[in-house]
Symmetry: D2
Amino acid sequence: MNQEALQRLMEMVRLGSGLTNTIGIRAVSVEPGVVTLALDKRPDILQFTGHFHGGAIAGLADHAAGGAVSTLLVESGRIAITADLHVKFIKAADGDTLIAKAKALKTGGTIGVAQVEITSVKNGMHELCAIATGTMRAVELPRRPQ
Amino acid sequence: MNQEALQRLMEMVRLGSGLTNTIGIRAVSVEPGVVTLALDKRPDILQFTGHFHGGAIAGLADHAAGGAVSTLLVESGRIAITADLHVKFIKAADGDTLIAKAKALKTGGTIGVAQVEITSVKNGMHELCAIATGTMRAVELPRRPQ
Amino acid sequence: MNQEALQRLMEMVRLGSGLTNTIGIRAVSVEPGVVTLALDKRPDILQFTGHFHGGAIAGLADHAAGGAVSTLLVESGRIAITADLHVKFIKAADGDTLIAKAKALKTGGTIGVAQVEITSVKNGMHELCAIATGTMRAVELPRRPQ
Amino acid sequence: MNQEALQRLMEMVRLGSGLTNTIGIRAVSVEPGVVTLALDKRPDILQFTGHFHGGAIAGLADHAAGGAVSTLLVESGRIAITADLHVKFIKAADGDTLIAKAKALKTGGTIGVAQVEITSVKNGMHELCAIATGTMRAVELPRRPQ
């Protein structure tokens, strides 16, 4: 992946996205087609049960899926926008940190598909707590973060 | 709907959910089987395009779907937890406010299904920007918000 | 809708699709953006419980969704291909006939979205048994059915 | 897995399901939590493009997902019924045979989740053409196939 393009993409992800910063999503690793993000437990992103809120998990999955597809688009000056996000919540997300690993599945044309696994980490133990799929549309990359 | 149970539900929704407060979700109306929520535009819940972030839309849809099913459960001392959330993003959510209207579809046993329409409001014009479906599991209502 | 284009579309739907004929899907009505199809109970499309098989319901929903979006594409010489199909089974499909009503939601570019309601008809009573959503891609209409 | 229970399950799958026989689904392998099924190309299960119809792919995915979860239920006298089926079509299913491999993800209570990969086989080459997820409910196994 072109380093300049990647830098631009990462900068957009870090600076440009209000919600991402608001809930505290951070990048763990970015490689072509695979993006891993993390989200640490904080009172302001939980639900009434004291576990991560489904909306925070969905936001994390969305961002990871978009990132994974974007890594394959960024050289052509494009970025992925979510058209379809589907999250299955399998276990209570009762850990201290969530890890979302998104993998882009190769597709043709202007559409990309990503699969995401979200694991809940508690006392060093990883447990699958949700899976997600996303369909992304490729759009032109803005000149600078807005 | 039993007024005391409804009060307890609303209190939980308002006080108990960190993420909901964090991103600013507010209730517009609650009636048996139908819940309408709103989310006003703020820089901290947008994405790099300057529109509402998909994660914020997903969180809004999730909360509305859970609320709609919960209204049918609350008399029996239960509340809905999301098992499955699917959001289709149809148009850019470029309005000043999002309105999510969730409707519970009657189901048997411990599972409920809700459909959600999310409209973007701009200069008084309403435009459908996303649709969502949720499958919810019924769980015992906690004694008090955590 | 252009009558010649519509005729060509309907002919393709009727003659061109092996599975559709195999399981006995029939058109009830076709208008711009809304397609209603029906499927009558037959032993060879049921599952072990004696009700309609989920695959038959999914096939019916898929065809209705594709048809609804195709009615909006056919004048430009295109037809809808399914990119994403999501079916929620709400009640046992234990009726004598299934009716699927698909409605296209307006979208831009080369993607269309449709919502589908599937009702089970038994002794003249209609009951919602499944809901579905589909995302469709527009492709060039083949010159003749294959 | 109890052999008698497994036999009963397989018999139900083979004899009891009208649609499965109608479109020609066959079992490739069954082990605890993982079921692989195949579907060979035949004119009566295609769509107008000459490729496998989305409904046939959905039916195959549904059956594989249900089977994978059922292998974990059968010892307790239960079988999986689909509550939610989501199929993403990634590439044209233009092969001679489709292979669906479903894997059950462990879940608690009366709900199971399965992930399915569907590959299209053409001239000995395998290509991922669709992915699916299913949420299943556990129900009592009927005494005998109906």
